[in-house]
Structure formats: C-alpha cells, structure tokens
Amino acid sequence: MSNKQELISFAHNIDALSAGYKSWGAVSVHRMAVRDGQFLYTVPGDRTLPSLTDADIEALGNSEEDKLIAAIFAKRKKINCVLITRQEYASTVREEIPPILDDQAQLLGVSVRIADVSDAKNAISKVLSALSSRYAAVCSDGRCICIGGTVDDAYIAAQLLEKTSKAFVEARWLGGAKAINRFEAWAMQMYYQFKYAKEAKKNR
C-alpha cells in the first residue's frame, strides 16, 4: 500500500481508531500530509476525513503551513507522515513536558517541547528545533505537530501526546508529575526504536 493509499484508509477509519482513546482526551486532526516517493501530498483542513477520496488529496503548496510541513520532510528523512492537530490538553500546555511516563519516553522522546511560533520569520526553525530527536511538539499557538514513519505512527504520537499532556496537567492536583531521569528516558527511546519496535516483525 502506498503512503497516499494508507492516508485514505486511515481517514476512513479515524472514528473507529479514536474510539479506543476516549479517556485520553480529544485529538482533532487539522492537517495530514504524507511523503510518497518524491512527492509530498496533503489533505486540506476542510475535508471530511471519513469520506476522503483520492480527489481530496493535493500536492503540498506554498502556504506557511505547507512550507513548515515540507521542511519537516526535508529534515527528517525517515518521516513519511506529518499530522497537525488541535488537542484538548496538549494545545493548552505552555511549558516543556519532561519525561513523566515510560510510553511517552519510548515513543515521543525525552521531552515534549514548545515551539515559539509568534515570529513568522523563524517559526519553521523553531518547530524543527522543538522536534529534534522527538516525534511531537506543541506550537505556542496551540497547534500540535505529530510525526511518524507511517500514518499510524504519527497518529499514535498524537494520541500519546494527549495522554502525556493530560497526565502532566492533572498530576498538578497530586503535587505534580515526577520526571524520570533523562538519560534513562533516552535509553528507553533507543531500546524501543532499535529493538522492541522490531519485535512486531521478528517475533513470529
């Protein structure tokens, strides 16, 4: 299946896919983009995802957001999907989230950073910097940037970003979330990416 076809399949199933994560907080997908060979495609934000067709998918254009998406694909060669989302908890977080959950550290990276996009001139570099060695970042305007090797990977990054943000915010009522040692968090991310994630194919 091509990445473009995977995008359509994902869009058709998005309601069912999100059903299992109800308690994690609401994730609304605003933009989707995929790399397919040498081409970059996107789904404009006004399309209805469950009824998406091939005709709804366009080549990446020249808007500021399109330039941001293209820059992410250019910088991160293994990334084939970028999702731009609005999220119930993540979009409201205004500070870097340290590693507070093992699954966050494994999949998203050692922290979730905030990219200050208030100055349009350097917004792209700020987002790229916030995403460095990471799979999700939150923009200061509330947009969340979630990336992955596949559409499914990017979507689970979005869901996990929401779970992490909810845990960070709600744990304040319990005296605050306690961070894991950053080196251990990094080691877990490496173990997950280079060993555990390969079990899906190898452990048969």
């Binding site: 994560y21 507070i100 699954d103 909810k166 845990a167 009522w173 899906a200 190898k202």
Partner: protein, 194 residues
C-alpha cells in the same frame, strides 16, 4: 483453572479488549492466565494486538521462565511469574497503561480509594505505587509485586498499573474500578482545592 487451548483463546481476545477499551495502545500492556501450578499463557512480546491469533500466545513455566515455541513472551513476564508464584489463588494478571492510573503513577502517589464499593473490588483502601524502575528490571518486578500486598492492584510509578484476580473477567473489573477510583481521587483533590 483453564486448559491451555482455552487460555490461548481467552488471553488473545483479552489483549484485543485492552486495546478497544483504551487501557493500552499499540503493543503495550500484557495479559496472562494460569494454566497449572507451574505454567501460564501470556501475550507475546512486541506484537500488535490487532493481528494476534490464539496460536501466538506463549506457554511459560513461571518457575524456570522456559517457554514453548519460537515466539517470545511479553518482556514483562517476570512480574506475572512473581504474582503466580506468591499468590496461589490468583489465576489472571493484566498490566495496562490506563489513563487515570497513569496520572497518579506519574505523580508517584498511592491512590486513596474513597468509595467503599471500589474498596471491595480492589481489596484495599489504599492502592500503593511501586517505586520507579526501568521496565523489565528486577527492581520493577519485585517492587511492584511487593506493592500489591493484599490488594488486587498496584500502580507502577511513571509506567502504569498491574491488576490481578481469580479470572480474566474479575481482572477487567479491577482495571475498570481502579480507573474509576483514580479519577474519583483526583476529583476529590480538585474539590478540596476549590
């Protein structure tokens, strides 16, 4: 006690149920059932629940950790083994990364179980949080096993929780009740602060 074939079917379908109920995502979490005084059937390591079949479930000796076949068992099998070795009446174990338990676990706090109905299902008025340790380490295995004490669940700091019971249906009930108890505990702290 279930026979091995029944256990493979039940453990497999319980893995999918974990996913559908939002208790885990992807390949995280694990499920096991005791099938004898020395063996359990457990979900495999690193495989997405959606593609699992009963044949992918792994039979493990919980004293020797030896397993049947080529498919490796869940990397967190040692925690399941310790539970079965030390609690002869326990026949099912589920480890999840469920939302509200994860919030309390991220704060490294015990859960004060406020509702007596929840206490009856969870088997304690306080559900303890095991200290943080790396996944699959001896420290997390023994720390969590100790934190369960006489309850039917324990939190695992910055990680998730483990729930135990006499059968899988009981354990799902413990998972759900723990989630409700954690949510209630957080709500009560919000009310006090308001």
């Amino acid at each position: 006690m279930m026979n091995i074939e029944q256990a493979r079917v039940e453990v497999c379908s319980s893995g999918k149920r974990l996913l559908h109920e939002g208790l885990v995502a992807r390949t995280w979490g694990n499920v096991s059932v005791r099938v004898s005084d020395t063996e359990m059937v457990i979900t495999p390591s690193g495989r997405p629940y959606t593609e699992l079949t009963p044949d992918d479930m792994v039979l493990v000796n919980f004293y020797t950790l030896a397993f049947e076949g080529k498919i490796k068992p869940s990397s967190e099998l040692k925690l399941h083994c310790e539970v079965y070795k030390n609690r002869k009446h326990i026949e099912a174990v589920i480890h999840t990364h469920q939302m509200y338990a994860s919030i309390v676990a991220a704060a490294q706090k015990d859960v004060v179980v406020l509702d007596p109905a929840h206490q009856a299902i969870l088997g304690a008025a306080v559900i303890k949080a095991a200290p943080y340790a790396l996944p699959n380490s001896k420290k997390i295995t023994f720390g969590t096993e100790k934190a369960i004490e006489s309850a039917n669940a324990a939190l695992m700091a910055n990680h998730g929780c483990v729930c135990i019971g006499r059968n899988l249906e009981d354990v799902f009930s413990v998972c759900k009740t723990l989630e409700e108890a954690c949510a209630l505990y957080i709500s009560s702290l919000k009310s006090k602060a308001a």
